[in-house]
Symmetry: D4
Subunit: 210 residues, 8 copies
């Protein structure tokens, strides 16, 4: 008895970014920091590009955990932002829960730091509450690979779907013709190899014009 295909739908999806804070970023060691930062920003750009309702939340921003990554506020200036006073599972925070409900969406795209806590706890709670849950694994980080693997198995067993930001973008977009340039720009900005392909192509096209 396998899981049915629940496909991301840009009209029914919201993004939850949980605890991407400057201090907590120093805990992330299951991915190199260049790639992790890039993936988190790609996910934020994606949320803006598809105009998905997005909820930002942090824990103890004035303490050691540090402030939210400043780029997230810049990219998503209108996103509701909930500074939790103490709840570790964001889902336990009433204000956060209302913000999620206010999006009116059934599909939740979740990422955060650290994977097995800030991502897994609300993901499991959301599944229990009947939401469809998609984890953006490459915009979520934690202490090491075995912690990540444990968290992935726990979330998968509970019915969460594991994706990466690129897959999320592709499943939301569905057809390049909806906006070739927009999607291409999103990719070029966050995938060096894709940027190279586009630059080589553009360069040759330019020569062709001459």
């Amino acid at each position: 008895m396998t899981q049915p295909y629940v496909r991301l739908d840009k009209d029914n999806a919201a993004v939850l970014l949980v605890d991407h804070q400057a201090g907590l970023l120093s805990l992330v060691r299951d991915m190199n920091p260049d790639s992790f930062r890039n993936n988190v920003l790609a996910l934020a750009d994606l949320a803006r590009y598809f105009d998905l309702p997005t909820v930002l939340t942090t824990s103890f921003e004035t303490g050691p955990n540090g402030p939210l990554m400043s780029e997230l506020k810049e990219i998503l200036p209108d996103a509701p932002y909930i500074a939790r006073p103490g709840q570790i599972n964001a889902w336990d925070n009433e204000e956060f829960l209302q913000a999620v409900k206010a999006t009116g969406k059934q599909q939740l795209i979740i990422a955060g730091i650290v994977t097995e806590v800030c991502v897994a706890f609300p993901a499991l709670s959301a599944l229990e509450a009947g939401y469809e849950v998609f984890i953006v694994t490459d915009a979520s980080g934690t202490f090491n690979e075995y912690t990540r693997d444990s968290a992935w198995q726990r979330m998968t067993a509970a019915g969460a779907q594991l994706m990466t930001w690129f897959g999320v973008a592709c499943e939301l977009h569905r057809d390049w013709r909806n906006d070739i340039e927009g999607l291409g720009t999103l990719f070029a900005n966050h995938i060096p190899d894709y940027r190279n392909l586009m630059n080589s192509y553009a360069s040759l096209q330019a020569m062709k014009q001459r």
Copy 2:
């Protein structure tokens, strides 16, 4: 409640090769390029050897994604070839869907670039449509290992079976006596260690004759 054994049957299987394009190949970094190219060609040779109906498809071949690997057209000159105008999930392309249906097969052997999109999306759609789906993991590539692992977990949870080209060949062939030389040649051409075994053996046999 586990999955029943759905066994590949050469009279009921088709191969779908999705977006093995020169540009996209530069995105594949979860396998070294020598092995990846070898695996993709092995799968194409396998399709030809077992005379399996095969569908080729690409996205944006005239743009940065680049042309289909030329070897695939050479190995499978008669395979229907669908250049999709924009659909990211090949299953969303009516022409591709008709080509799949035209094979008349219930078992779909799928590989492509990149794993979590070009492979996973049609695989999940095909499962939803009632097909039996086999992923050729080593002829499918993507950005990095955590993306691959996420995609594998998503597809497994949905009921896809993960295989590699060698396993596919063996499950289709069933008995060496059906054609020892043909299968041996397929293996020797794509598995250096097997080629060595065969050469050492042949060399000793030759000495024995003398």
Copy 3:
């Protein structure tokens, strides 16, 4: 059909530490010894901090397997301690089983050496007996990574939830406001990166006071 969210509850959880013995520690090679020792002690400190009933057990302490890690007895001086005369699966030992029942808890947090035997066997037995089982993967060790991966798959398939000590602490604590300093100290003592965050923060706060 996925697993429901069974959430750790500090009023309903007990800890089982199985065979963390000096000799057996030399068998653990799927984690570096600095991290493994740290994780085991963190789990013991966590048990004490949350005042969870804890059961210690060893096999053949007077033989090659060696004595229980002395720190565990120091941290948990009142925990029942069962030296099994021969049963490999601790659950087969009546005294151990009684100690587990005596905790009166339904949620069992299990760690031990080696993962696929001393952890997996009682975990599978406890699941069969109707307990909710949580494996502390990073306080459990074994010979190598493929052994670990095999054991994880077996336990996950049987319904055990894979966690790490940090996730366990967070799920038990639920809200930082229950005791900020206590939880912070637990983390600082066992997570160097977190200690650094706290020290930098305290240092700046101190300057601020001046």
Copy 4:
């Protein structure tokens, strides 16, 4: 809905060793050759030690695949040995199937080369036929790690339990008191770290006697 705990029972278990042949051994690259050889011999010693009915089988022993590892015949001289004339899935060979049935056991402990074919195919067939199947992952080898991972996921999804030879031995033995010396010798012969523990202990005991 998770899998129930099916526990190995030495009175109800048989061992199937599939295609551990000298030539095929050169294909195994997901484990270093010293460890792999050691694990295969440990499994054979285990089968002898617990007096489990064992079936040996090979494919094309007189061709490039090469002869069965000679140590297996030496350790298990009375095991039925089926040289298959061509069937890739040993379960398709009537003689092999009869040998399995002749053991009269319901639990099958399977290992072989290569994992995704010679192990996975009979494992899946045996599960379909209603047997309880245990894969000895560390006595099974294949081309590389992604092939292994694919095969493990396929077998797990079908209900096979993944174990290693050490776990199998422990689950069969159940209680050290059944034979301390016998089990200790099995471990010392195949686990250098355990041998060291035993030697250090024996050395200190000897000094103690003096």
Copy 5:
């Protein structure tokens, strides 16, 4: 007889960026593409920040190798740019050699694609010509790790000093007081962990002001 300490001197150093072209970037597989792109841009920013004379060169820009990374031209608009008509070793190109001489510097900081050719060849030639040579290893890339290691050993044996862009910046700057903000900005733009430290610090300082 060891090498004397030749220390980078910002008044005596020039930067040579060799063949950082869009097509060739797809060959680089000894580093992940996010980090590699970041390192190359960091080196270019460094050259601009310290106002070091810089020479850009490419091979076959209108062919498969593709155009120079466009960011390099943007960051260093005034750098002489030599499109070599065919010489593989840039040092064999008279125009390039003149550009190097025109810098009037004795210390050459070299990076490029691929390490063992486009970097190593001019580096060895420059050493032979009496220059002091510093390789920026993390802004140089190649096919795989063993190729890189071979190239590093060859260059080290010839007297080149291996550094990374961060070390180069620090050795050139010598004293933070020369310009704290400038150097801090360079680091924050290219080292996510350093950016986090700065953001956490600034955030706490801001609170302090209040």
Copy 6:
């Protein structure tokens, strides 16, 4: 022409700990944080145990780099401590240089964060000044492995000897009989595997007494 054996001499050696600061620790990613912290503390304990003159130094302690690891001040309360106002190479700071000279030693044991800057720069300067230099590689950390490897090759080429804290301790101590318990305690406190050996041994000895 190889290097002569320059052997550490406890009467002629001093220790330099450079920039082990809470903020900079978050940059260290070529070693896991549990091991790195342990190694740094082991080196400090070693310095105290052998009563080696030790110099502590930091850069910008009141800024983002954060305060010195507090444990270092606790272990080495009498060590001169130089907070450099801006010099990146500690050797460029006159106060530091005087502190080094004041030790009156010719052998300098150096560790710090980050390896290629805070360690390599003073190491190269000290070599140039005629000192014998020993790098404690495992108490020095940096961004990633290729940066570390580059730094090691540069320092080795200049005549520095690469060691780890355990080797340093052994070369200084020379003969266990100088103080078995003291050295044993140092090792037990920082090498879990050695602690296990000692505990197993002590446990057996205790039984022997009875």
Copy 7:
């Protein structure tokens, strides 16, 4: 005192291929077999392309070591081929030595199986005899990475230059204009990423023509 730049010269270089035999290939585990086979054939193609005198040699071809890779004889049909009757170091074989001298070259490009014996021994002997020696590290293979690393350090210390086949080809060719198509074909045949670049380029050029 560093090594002077000895640059490969196609008029003064010969290639020695030592013991690339079918049986010995199964010993090579420091590289994946797809890449290793590709590298060896690339080196042979390179030797033919540059028309370098080449010497082939094997040990015990009629025994377990197996026959020379058949492709080498096909690519280099006119190369002298010395089947050594027993000398492990090919340089100890008078016939081989004469074949080397007969090439009349001073630069020897050496590759073989296994690196630390069949490559290192003749390389060290050739250096002693005054030849300039270049090791093709990626066309040489051995048991594991630490064996390789040991061998590389021994050969580097003795003055051998470590290169890979691509670097050798580039250093010999010097200028693309000597034969763009020939060199491009060599690369396309053995570097999948380069082939992709060329195919994408050619495809765009073709469109441009239209």
Copy 8:
């Protein structure tokens, strides 16, 4: 100025096995235990096979370090065996030094636990005393890979040659014809892949006879 080729000569070589003790073996984590044990025994067998004078030594055999690996005494019953009372560097022990001198050899083949102490210290002392030193890297073990790498660089810089047991055997034997069967047996007993080659060959030869 490179090192001249110093070639092992079986009439001028002795073997020093330093501190291969049961307890210390648990510290070795830069190699898997199956391979490490195999390599140490291979070196001992090699010493016996070539009848090389061999010196065994241990430190604190009656303490936590544990007894010498019992197999070494069995393989080399006549080797002088020096239990050092406390000297960490075996070379500091007069009895050991006399045993080395008594061999009358100038070439010392050294292995031990741990690499950076028990191997490096006597190696450096022996080089200083004018001996030619060969390190058997794969029969020497230590805590982790960075410790090993540091030790290798220190020993290489001092003029030691890094080899593995297989290379040592080949360089000592020089010509298979000196004793094909003896050397073949040594290899078959310690290299599974070689054993496979020999078994396949023998099996085919046997068939040929018939």
